[in-house]
Symmetry: C2
Subunit: 190 residues, 2 copies
DNA sequence: GCTTTCATGTGACATATATCACAAAGCTAT
DNA sequence: ATAGCTTTGTGATATATGTCACATGAAAGC
């Protein structure tokens, strides 16, 4: 995948982005391929990059008493980042790990943030990125607070059926906030 | 409270804001006082304003089967808004209601959003506002997904003890995602 | 092809929480 | 002060979910 193709892709995902900003962002962008199990971002560490998934999938998780508790999964054409990395400059509290061999465009966070200091279009890009993330968080919060585990499971397979294809039931259960066994029983109901 | 005082207050809460942007934002700002029970923002409606609490408190809730389920409470010096109102221009899914007689600075959302289109400092202001909201959501999500109801209760009174002073246990229970009775039992444990 | 390992399903039981019913205490208005 | 309303506490019971143990089946490595 060459720079022109990357450019077209980023443009299609963020249609509002201006050419100057786009050029700047792409100057720090690289195409990379990584193997299943690789940790893109590791909890407790600062990170210089965020990613756009071209092919493959990742899971994001916290560690609680050395058990992985998933907070989300991402697939093709989605941005992979943590809020602490993008917005603050603090160590990530989550780990992001490849579920399968995958390909990404890697962006340098600093480069975009620097540009956003002086460039309006880049600042809008940041706002859009964070707004998208916040909207997603709000939806997930709503599900966790107001829906039963059954409802959350059905909402998940409706909203993101690809999760069921690519993610283990252990990870899905931790994401839904229930035990593996309970998920198994919900699934066997119909 | 006059414009100069409002200006100083907004400046102290958002120290990075530029003078041009500040002037523009303040031009649409008004001081208002409202009575307990007033709905600042009503679920299902679009809203032109967001607010800064000068004195008093509010609760934010969803309706589920005609029962109020609180999603947050806010007190002095905090911004009151919903993401759908600030970021999108969609009807709010939450209602925001005064817990007591309160005083606010009312800002016109459109005015700030318009300015952010062309003014860098205002755009940064928007980014900051939404980032703050997202950070808050992420923390709440973490508590809901990873902590037991006891832990969530203790986390709440540690992080925001004023909630206990001003909010009914019914509302706190709905916020924690548990029944009123369960909260009552947690409280009686020690 | 066989063995090992891992993911998933299921039963038995313990625990946490919800629900319903009612009592007690605190506020509010007259 | 009194009556009525709201908030909070608590007991009894039902339900949902977690935990532990083990079985089954699929995938991976030799």
């Amino acid at each position: 995948m060459n720079k022109t193709e990357i450019k077209e892709l980023v443009k299609s995902i963020f249609p509002h982005i201006e050419n100057v900003a786009l050029q700047h962002i792409l100057s720090s962008a690289n195409y990379i391929e990584l193997a299943k199990g690789t940790e893109l971002i590791r909890a407790g560490e600062r990170h210089r990059y965020f990613y756009l998934i071209l092919r493959g999938s990742v899971k994001t998780y916290y560690l609680k008493e050395s058990k992985q508790i998933c907070s989300w999964f991402a697939f093709e054409n989605h941005i992979v980042a943590t809020l602490t990395t993008i917005a603050g400059d603090k160590p990530s509290s989550e780990t992001i790990e490849l579920l399968e061999d995958s390909a990404f465009v890697q962006f340098e966070t600093k480069s975009i943030k620097n540009l956003a200091e002086s460039n309006l279009s880049a600042s809008h890009f940041m706002t859009e990125l964070i707004t998208e993330h916040a909207t997603f968080l709000e939806e997930r919060l709503y599900l966790l607070q107001f829906m039963s585990s059954k409802e959350r499971y059905y909402a998940l397979i409706e909203r993101a059926p690809e999760v069921l294809q690519k993610v283990s039931l252990t990870d899905i259960a931790s994401f839904l906030g229930i035990s593996r066994e309970t998920l198994s029983r919900i699934r066997s109901l119909k």
